[in-house]
Amino acid sequence: MLLSVLQTGAVSSASGSAYAEFGNTKVIVSVFGPRESKKAMVYSDVGRLNCNVSYTNFASPTLGQGTDHKEYSSMLHKALEGVIMMETFPKTTVDVFALVLESGGSDLSVLISCASLALADAGIMMYDLITAVSVSCIGKSLMIDPVTEEEGCEDGSFMMTCMPSRYEITQLTITGEWTTPNINEAMQLCLDASSKLGEIMRDCLKQSASASDE
């Protein structure tokens, strides 16, 4: 898919935010925090992370009710909790709110990459930027970043979230039937794409940092 837009500072009222357009998939993520944990009466010396993913009514081609996507929320949470340094904001909570404006395929990967950009924009300390890439297997061929139509007829999907600089995988989900050579190939594809995406994200952050200096 074509990476058209990647920018930070989309929402001025949030601590940090990012907007991404990958082909037809448009996602906006805003990060609030670290701010006071309302629920936590118990002292905890690590911070808390709260993720929420929701779809707008007009996001998918068929009119769906814009609901909170619990599945994606928990997957985003798992992807981010391995990379944020929770010890740096004890007793407080970081809230990550993601909104999918238009769903054109590979939604979760775009969400995760955009969320890590928003967290970096908010100044939350992380071990590394995380990038997420998904690969679809149709018959014998693998395709990276599938669009909705390709996802509809896929035989298997492979979504990987990794830290490009540390060369570590923080989340991996595979569905469908895969042979080991296919998995190897898909993993290599994802790692290569992740490092490229990581560089693009870094450039974007550098640009916005130098723009705010002026």
């Binding site: 779809y55 996001a59 998918s60 068929t62 769906g64 996507h69 619990k70 599945e71 994606y72 928990s74 798992k78 909790e81 391995g82 990379v83 999918v100 769903s103 939604d107 909705t148 996802e151 509809g152 896929e154 035989d155 298997g156 999907s157 990794c162 830290m163 540390r166 060369y167 570590e168 995988i169 923080t170 989340q171 991996l172 989900t173 595979i174 569905t175 469908g176 039937e177 895969w178 042979t179 080991t180 998995i183 190897n184 993993m187 790692l191």
Partner: protein, 297 residues
């Protein structure tokens, strides 16, 4: 889980030396006990005990309409409930997060792909080649199909819930008998056909392609299979891999924890395949023994 520093070192040290606290080797499972037909009203059910972990799975089949996206296939939904008898914290909303995580992982392994965003996430469409053959649930294309509701209940939790649930669902599906349905009358395209559900004749579900799930827990630099709750508290991360009879990976979920090097994941996949061979044959023999027991009684 409250463990003292000494206990933590003991667990980690033991795993490093291939001798766990209960005497097992790293890649050995605890004894697995399977009982089938534990819930008479359900179409199929099974209870699986792996060490201290006790789970029950039940399968109920109801007549429903196939979805318009896949008119030639039936539908399956998986729900998991963590009972407060296992852990007091599971009462009320407490176990909800764990239940949905387990249900998601099981759906992924048994059914393959998910439906697209915006659709109800509890009913999923099939990806060919994955565990359950949904075409066998069809009665009349586009009109009538079987809806399978698979429910898992965690009664006692001592680690390795996902593997136990996977085994229980596999056993419950083997035990499932779907009544034979005769479509009585031929009707026009837009009307619902009349169906006659037979009381005597049953069809056994074909479970030869249902995969087993193996969870590999990484503690220090080694992996263990079938972790107890104590060992799980010391893990750095865990990967659950579902492998079917032909040795293909049907699903993989990396559970929360720290990041893993890609070579570690590939290594885990080959270890999982190796472990699956023994686990699958053990499970098959246990299930057929349980079915034979049930037939006699």
């Amino acid at each position: 889980m409250g463990l003292s520093l000494g206990e933590q070192h003991f667990i980690k040290g033991g795993i490093a030396q291939d001798l766990r606290t209960d005497g097992r080797k790293r890649l050995t499972y605890r004894p697995i006990y399977v009982e089938t037909g534990v819930i008479p009203q359900a179409n199929g059910s099974a209870r699986v005990r792996i060490g201290g972990t006790d789970v029950i799975a039940s399968v109920k089949a109801e007549i429903g309409r196939p979805s318009s996206l896949q008119p030639d296939k039936g539908k399956v939904a998986v729900f998991i409930d963590c009972s407060p008898t296992a852990e007091p914290t599971f009462g009320g909303r407490g176990g909800e997060e764990l239940s949905s995580e387990l249900a998601l992982a099981l759906q992924r392994c048994l059914l393959g792909g998910k439906s697209g965003a915006g659709l109800q996430s509890s009913i999923h469409v099939l990806v060919p080649g994955a565990g359950i053959n949904l075409s066998s649930l069809l009665i009349k294309e586009g009109k009538v199909c079987w809806d399978l509701y698979i429910d898992g209940l965690v009664i006692s939790s001592d680690g390795n819930l996902l593997d136990a649930l996977g085994a229980a669902i596999k056993a419950a599906l083997t035990n499932t008998a779907i009544p034979k349905v005769n479509v009585s009358a031929e009707v026009a395209d837009d009307e619902q056909p009349e169906i006659d559900i037979s009381d005597e004749e049953y069809l056994q579900f074909d479970t030869s392609s249902v995969p087993v799930i193996v969870t590999l827990t990484k503690v220090g630099t080694h992996y263990i299979v079938d972790a107890t709750a104590e060992e799980e508290s010391q893990m750095s991360s865990a990967v659950s891999i579902s492998v079917n009879r032909t040795g293909h990976i049907c699903g993989l979920t990396k559970r929360s924890g720290s990041g893993l090097d890609p070579s570690v994941i590939l290594d885990m996949i080959s270890v999982a395949k190796h472990v699956t061979e023994t686990l699958m044959s053990k499970l098959d023999s246990e299930i057929s023994a349980a079915e034979a027991c049930e037939d006699e009684s």
